[in-house]
Structure formats: C-alpha cells, structure tokens
C-alpha cells in the first residue's frame, strides 16, 4: 500500500506564506506530478511529505496513519534529489547498500570489525548483496558498481540515485526535479524509462517538476500549483483540454495558449477582434478572456467573417511543426499559430496571413481568471 493524504497543509517561512491550505489525496500506485513555476512551493510540499520540512498546520497521512510526528527516516519513503545527493566517498555499490545497511543491520553489526562476529550478519549481508545486484540489473548499472560517483556521467548518477531509492522497496518514491540536471536528449529518454519503471514497480510516485512537458508525458494525474495554491488536480488530458483557470491554461502547454480580450453581449454571444464564436457563453454582458491554443489556429487563404489577419513577426521552425508568431492587425495581440511544414513552408517573416480557428476549441475565462463554460444550447 502507498496512499498519501495531505489535509489542509499550510506552510509559512516567517511572514511569507508558501503553501495555502492544500488538500491532495494520492492513490496507491499512482504517478502524481506536482508541477508549477519555480517558487510555487511544490518542492516544499514534497519535503513536507518526506518529513524533511515541518508544515505550519495541517496533517500528512501515509497509509491512513498520521505521520506529523514521525521523522523522515521512519516514514519509509525514498527520495531522489535534484542534485542526486550521492555519497561521493562511497562506491556505487556502497551507495546502494547504505539504506539497507542502516535499516537491516543493528547498531552492533554496523561496528567495524567486531560487527562481523554477529551471527546474523552474514545472512543479512547476503540478502543485501542480492538486492543490490537485482536493482543494479534492473537499472543496467551493474558494471558501474565499483566506481565512485565522481567517475560517472550525469545520466549514470541519475540511475544510481534511483537505485538507492529503489533497493529498499519503500511505500512511495518522492522525486524532486530528478531530470533537470540532464541534457535535453537524455531527459526525454529518462522520461520513458521512469514511466516504464513506474509500470513495473507499481509503487506510488510523487514527482516534482517545473517542466509541464514532463508532467504531461509521465503522470497519471498532475497537480498544478501556482503561488502556493493548488489550482487543478486531474489527469494530464483533462488539465490540458479543460483547464480550470487562466493561470493553469497559460502554464500548461508549450508554446503558451493565445489569450484574446473579448466581450459577451446580452445573448451570451462572445466576440473578439472581428470574430464571433458560435457557442454562447454562460456569462453574458461581461468582458472575457478567450484562450485558443496554437494548434487550434490555422493559417488559411480564406478571408471572411471567421478569419482575422496579421503579420508574421517571427517564424520558429521545429522541423515537425512551424510556429508563427503573428502580430494581429489592430496591434493589441501577439499570438502564436502552429502550421504544418508541408503547407506553410513558403511563409516567411513579414508576410501577411489570414488565420482561422478550429471550431469548438476556444476556452473562456472571466476577468478573475476563472473558467467560464459555454451554454449547452
């Protein structure tokens, strides 16, 4: 079992409030990502779960047991740190053995030399060796066991750090931006490895990242945190397609969602620039933000009441996609439009383009930044 519940967690450092009354329930075997911009308190929340930091108020429950007063070493969690925090003076093998030695051997057996006289030590050493070998085979680091962390590359250290967390079969894994020190290609590769690892271990993972792409690709559910508040906790698909607020919509998705200023009239018809949406807003007679993701806009040759025009300011070619940064004609907006290379390769910086929407994809937000639904009618 590995359920973790956070109830009304608040944390302040002096007069600075970093976490505001958070409630999260993490299911057994789930891959939950805490994602948010830097400084949003996600690492602090992870450290509160770990027990390395004490919450100002609220409860942490692991497997339905309140662990507020249980120290980190007794919560039976394993953590992978951003800097890996491997013991630099120990070989990889000893690094992997450390959590087992500290827990399995008693104080007498840990003594140098005389500890070896303990009758049960040999058996324990045997089982520790087996566990270390098993883990290093899983992570493909068997040939590195005799090296020291200083002799390893970033990716290998990452694996060793994972291994040190894995050998012990903890209730849950806590990971604090474990991939942020790797180069881009390795990071993408490790994403899939972590997902596979999660699938095979079936243990609870709590994963902190500032990278929304990691959150979208790996997690079973993601918790979006901004400024110490939990804004949305849902599956990646739901968070992306159906964000609860403007901040979430802007944070998740790359490139960023395009935001237009618009209004709804008394009938709920939403208009922005020269365009009216087909669907009606549930809030009438108000100013609104209309969010449309870059992939839901298209460059077109048509010019009618459903299109608007602008000038390409910058063309960003990613190979598989081309993103056009377009200045809208009235000068109020700068938006990003995705184009497929085969249709748009001839468009260059400075050309005028017409843009149309993919229907039924716009998202509405009110002035407070909260989501506004369309009426079903």
């Amino acid at each position: 079992m590995g359920t973790i519940s956070l109830k009304n967690i608040s944390k302040s450092f002096g007069s600075t409030q970093v976490l505001n009354n958070l409630n999260v329930d993490i299911n057994d075997g789930e891959f939950l990502t805490l994602v948010g911009p830097s400084g949003c308190g996600k690492s602090t929340l992870l450290r509160i779960i770990a027990g390395l930091e004490q919450q100002t108020s609220g409860d942490v429950l692991i497997d339905n047991k309140n662990v507020n007063r249980v120290r980190a070493s007794e919560r039976d969690l394993a953590m992978v740190f951003q800097s890996y925090a491997l013991y630099p003076h120990l070989t990889v093998r000893r690094n992997l053995e450390t959590p087992l030695r500290l827990r399995d051997y008693n104080a007498f057996e840990r003594l140098p030399l005389i500890g070896n006289f303990s009758p049960s030590k040999k058996e324990k050493t045997e089982s520790i060796n087996q566990l270390v070998n098993k883990t290093s085979e899983t992570l493909k680091i068997s040939e590195l066991l005799d090296r020291k962390p200083g002799q390893l590359s970033g990716g290998q250290r990452q694996r060793v750090a994972l291994g040190r967390a894995m050998v012990r079969e903890p209730v849950a894994f806590l990971m604090d931006e474990p991939l942020s020190n790797l180069d881009a290609a390795l990071r993408v590769h490790m994403r899939s490895e972590l997902s596979e690892l999660h699938n095979s271990l079936k243990t609870t993972f709590v994963y902190v990242t500032h990278d929304q792409a990691e959150a979208l690709t790996m997690s079973s559910r993601m918790a979006v945190m901004i400024d110490g508040n939990l804004l949305q906790l849902d599956t990646p698909e739901e968070v992306y397609d159906n964000p609860s607020s403007l901040s979430v919509a802007q944070f998740v998705g790359s490139p960023k969602i395009n935001i237009f200023k618009g209004t709804s009239d008394s009938g709920g018809t939403v208009g922005f620039l020269n365009v009216n949406l087909k669907r009606k807003s549930s809030e009438s007679n108000t100013d609104l933000h209309i969010g449309i993701r870059p992939e839901h806009l298209e460059i077109t040759n048509e010019s009618n009441e459903n299109t608007f025009s602008g000038t390409v300011a910058y063309r960003e070619n990613l190979g598989s996609d081309i993103f056009f940064h377009v200045n809208i004609e009235d000068g109020s907006n700068k938006i990003i439009v995705r184009g497929l290379p085969q249709f748009t390769h001839q468009i260059s910086n400075g050309s005028s383009v017409n843009i149309k929407r993919v229907s039924d994809k716009a998202l509405l937000f009110n002035q407070a930044g909260m989501r506004v639904q369309f009426t079903n009618a």
Binding site: Q82, P99, L102
Partner: protein, 318 residues
C-alpha cells in the same frame, strides 16, 4: 612556441629568489652540519656524522626529541578534535555563533608573545590566578569537580586536590615543575591552536551540501552519530588533511611560549627543537650542531609533507 625563451624570463625571478633564500641556505646548513664550524671561526674541520651522533646519544638531545614528540603528539590530535567539535557546535547554533567564533579565534589573532606573558602571570605559583582559584576552592565544589571526587574509584581524602589543600595549599608550580611543565605548555599550545582549526572546519562544514544530510536521513541514518559517520566526517576529509598538516607543522615550530615561559626547562622537559636550534646556534654560537638539528627538523617536516601528499591525499579527494 618551443623556441620562445619568454617563459624563462617569467619564472626566473621566482626561481632565483627561491634558490637564494631557500635552497642555498638549506644546502649550506646541510654542509655545516658535517663540520665543527662556529660563527666567526676562520677555519673548520669536517667531522662527518659527529654532530648527528651527539644528537641521538647525548641526553640533552634525546630529551629534545622527547619533548618535541610529546608536544606534537598531544597538541595536534587534541586541537584538531576540539576544533572540529567547536565548529560543529557553533554550526548548530541559531544565534550567538559570532560571539563564540570571536572568543575562540582571539588567541589565534593575539600576539603569542603577549599571550605567553599573560599566561606566565596566570600560572604563577603564588601570585597566579589559577592557584589562588584552586586554593579558595578547598573543600568546595571546585575540589569535588577538579579533584575527580565524582569518579567512584577516587578517594576524596586521597585525591591530588585534597592532598594539596591539606599540605598548606601545595598546588603545582605548573611551569616550574618537571612533571607539569610540558603539559602546561601543551595546554597553552592547544588553547592557541584550536581556534584556527575551528575556523577551517567551519569553512569545511558550510561547504557540505545540505541535501546529503537529507539523503542520509531518508536512507535511515537517524542518530547524529550515524549522520556524522556517513556524511560529515568523510566530507570533511580534505579539510581534516589540511588542518592536521598545518597544525603539525605549526606545533613543530613552537618557540615563543617556550622562550617566554620555560626556556626549555625545568631540566630540559620542554626543550623543543625550535628552541634548541635557537639556543645552540644563536645563544651559544654552536653553529654546526644548530645546523644538524635544523636538518633533522626539516627532515621531519619533509616526511610529513610527503606522507600527506602521496598517501593520505589519495584517500580524501573523491
């Protein structure tokens, strides 16, 4: 690039200076140590190893080596361990750390000469504050604590403190007594040295990443001792190596306190090498034997440095 001679011009001043003020005198001292030359003499005779033979067979020089060894072996470990303990205690303080840092570091900054004179007064057998403090404590808590009466096997009538109280306040003469002088000098040496070690260890402690302690905590290192063993001590390895080397070399060089407080006495129990070189070569004008002691002294330092460089260094850098 290989044809350019510019590099010679860049390093020549340093090399020439080094030869003039370091290497040449060293060889000169080495040469003189095999002669009977004294400063002012017009001629000299080669005497081979006679000076060295004296050093290892005459009682004075055996005592010299004994005193130096005692001083180094006592002062180095104690001042290093004390420095480490003080640094860790100060590091764990939330406030007030600066006050303690200043207090412990003052002896390092102060002129040792002036401090030695202050100690001379403090330890004066009749006028000194130490012995009057002890005398006033007869029969009281001080006697209980310093006389070790709290140890179960110490008889409160027989302890050194009780004996001194009973015998007309016959407390040790500290610097004037054969069995206490070297230990008193060691004590002053420790008092003077550990502040510096503390500062070095404080610097070493701040460079240990906090995440390592957290990793140790997550791995199940619950007690402070476990965390010390797993993280602090290994991570301080390079600092310890440096601290031990520096302290050893500095304790070998002890001179000021000896010159002020004991002049090598009583009966040569505090006759350390540096003082012996000074006494023989400068005061008694026996240049050749002074040179021989110097060579042995340099030998010790060299052996230590090589040991540090080639044996221990490999184990503390990861």
């Amino acid at each position: 690039m290989h044809n350019s001679k510019a590099h010679i011009w860049f390093i020549a001043p340093a090399i020439i200076l080094m030869i003039i003020i370091l290497i040449f005198p060293l060889f000169l001292a080495g040469g003189i140590s095999f002669t009977d030359y004294n400063l002012g003499n017009k001629t000299f005779e080669w005497v081979g190893l006679e000076n060295y033979d004296k050093m290892f067979n005459r009682k004075t020089y055996v005592k010299m080596i004994w005193a130096t060894a005692t001083y180094v072996i006592v002062v180095v470990p104690i001042s290093v361990v004390l420095g480490l303990c003080a640094a860790m205690l100060i590091n764990s303080l939330r406030f007030g750390a600066d006050i303690y840092k200043t207090i412990f570091f003052l002896p390092v900054m102060a002129t040792l000469l002036a401090m030695a004179i202050a100690w001379e007064f403090t330890l004066h057998p009749t006028l000194g504050i130490v012995n009057s403090f002890l005398a006033n404590g007869c029969g009281g808590v001080r006697e209980f604590i310093l006389g070790f009466h709290w140890l179960p096997w110490v008889d409160s009538q027989e302890s050194w403190y009780a004996a001194a109280c009973a015998n007309n306040m016959d407390f040790p003469y500290w610097l004037k007594q054969k069995n206490t002088a070297i230990w008193t000098v060691c004590f002053i040496g420790i008092w003077q040295a550990f502040g510096f070690n503390m500062v070095l260890y404080l610097a070493g402690l701040t460079s240990i990443p906090r995440e390592l302690y957290q990793a140790a905590e997550m791995d199940g290192a619950k007690s402070t001792w476990e965390q010390f063993k797993l993280v602090t001590w290994p991570m301080l390895g390079p600092t310890t190596l440096f601290v031990v080397t520096i302290t050893t070399i500095r304790t070998f060089q002890v001179f000021d306190t000896i010159e002020i407080l004991t002049k090598g006495g009583p009966s040569k129990t505090t006759y350390v090498m540096m003082y012996a070189i000074f006494e023989k070569a400068i005061q008694q004008n026996l240049t050749s034997i002074g040179a021989a002691i110097t060579v042995v002294f340099i030998g010790f330092i060299l052996v230590l440095t090589f040991f540090q460089r080639y044996v221990i260094e490999k184990r503390v850098h990861y």
